[in-house]
């Protein structure tokens, strides 16, 4: 459980680094990289929570497993950027495309508890 707490704390830390922007602001490499850091920890945390769920309940959730595997596979396409790189649509899409299965898996686990 401490590991889960640590990861949640890490997520909080990453989230604290996220900033809102307004029209005209520079698009920084850190904006994309922060999201990727968040997703990396979130997918790891999700996998750990599901294992805990299985351990606690003795059940498996096929749908949740599907979403978890999908989140892991999509995360592999996430690439950190650096200053000077072109902001690609992939950088934006990979964030929401990975967050979506994470959300679905968490909802499935939550509804099963």
């Amino acid at each position: 459980m401490s590991s889960i707490d640590d990861k949640i704390a890490t997520l909080e830390s990453i989230l604290s680094r996220m900033t809102y922007v307004v029209d005209g602001d520079y698009v920084l490499a850190d904006h994309t990289n922060t999201f990727i850091d968040f997703l990396t920890v979130a997918v790891d945390l999700l996998d750990e929570i599901y294992e805990l769920f299985k351990a606690k309940t003795g059940r498996t959730l096929p749908d949740a497993e599907l979403w978890i595997d999908l989140a892991k596979s999509r995360l592999q396409f996430a690439v950190k950027v650096k200053f000077g790189d072109v902001v690609a649509t992939r950088d934006h899409n990979i964030v929401i495309d990975t967050l979506k299965p994470i959300e679905l898996a968490l909802v499935a686990i939550e509804q099963s508890l």
Binding site: M1, I4, D5, I8, L11, E12, L15, M18, T19, Y20, V21, V22, D23, D25, V27, H31, F35, F38, A42, L45, L46, I49, L52, F53, K56, D63, L70, R74, V87, A88, T89, H92, N93, V95, I96, D97, L99, K100, P101, I102, E103, L104, L106, V107, I109, E110, L113
Partner: protein, 253 residues
């Protein structure tokens, strides 16, 4: 990547954006028409007759002599009428038609000669009869008379000449019609193609998020720009996900 998410399980909404590309292709076939039309040639002509006529006539009209003279009288009428009507016509119309013909000429000739013979009895006469008579006969006659009296003979020659030459050639021919027609073909073929690009957007933690697309150059007008709202929505979604993690963790504990 979108296809990996079953639409029935998530609140996925796809916004189809269609691009209509019109391709028009029109072509025209080569047209050609070959036409031979009806030929009707009516050829009517008349031959022109050329003839030469030579008339030689010897006429002894007056002769006086005494009776008991043996009179030999010869009247020679030589009427020489020669003519030649020969037409040689070679006709070569547009078709290979050689038409050589000779006109048919016919000539009818009627020559009437009138002899007037007057006898005058002077001196001895054999029959003491003065007779005037007219003799009429037709040539071509060769007359040998032996009258006992001198006589005067008046000969009147009347020639009637009648010649009719009518040549009429009527030639009509007709070529078989051959019409080859290739009608004009105008084929206009136009078609439309439609490309559909789905722009997917869905909700994430109850918030509407959208995927952005970078399309080929020809669809530049449909390019998406990552707005500040897209970034801020992602931040809010991350916060909601974190909150969801906390809830699940709390339930698991």
């Amino acid at each position: 990547m979108l296809s990996c998410i079953p639409a029935k399980l998530i609140d996925l909404s796809a916004q189809p954006t269609s691009y209509v590309v019109e391709v028009g292709d029109a072509f025209k076939a080569s047209d050609f028409a070959y036409r031979e039309f009806v030929k009707s040639v009516s050829d009517v002509f008349k031959a022109i007759d050329a003839y030469s006529r030579t008339l030689i006539a010897f006429r002894n009209i007056y002769d006086s002599f005494k009776a008991s003279d043996w009179v030999s009288r010869g009247v020679t009428d030589n009427v020489y009428d020669s003519f030649k009507a020969g037409d040689y016509i070679h006709k070569n119309p547009s078709k290979a038609l050689a038409d050589t013909l000779k006109p048919i000429d016919w000539t009818s000739k009627a020559v009437m000669k009138m002899f007037e013979i007057q006898f005058s009895a002077t001196g001895w006469k054999s029959n003491d009869v003065v007779r005037n008579f007219w003799d009429e006969f037709k040539t071509p006659d060769r007359v040998t008379k032996h009258p006992m009296k001198p006589f005067r003979e008046t000969v009147k020659l009347t020639d009637a000449y009648n010649k009719d030459v009518v040549k009429q050639v009527y030639d009509r021919f007709k070529t078989p019609d051959l019409v080859t027609k290739h009608p004009i073909k105008s084929i206009s073929d136009s078609f439309k193609t439609e490309e559909i690009v789905l722009k997917a957007s869905y909700t994430l933690t109850g918030r509407g998020v959208r995927r952005v697309y970078f399309l080929p150059k020809e669809y530049e007008v449909h390019w998406d720009i990552i707005e500040d709202t897209d970034h801020n929505t992602n931040v809010d979604c991350c916060k909601s996900i974190l909150e969801l993690f906390r809830r699940v963790r709390d339930k698991l504990v």
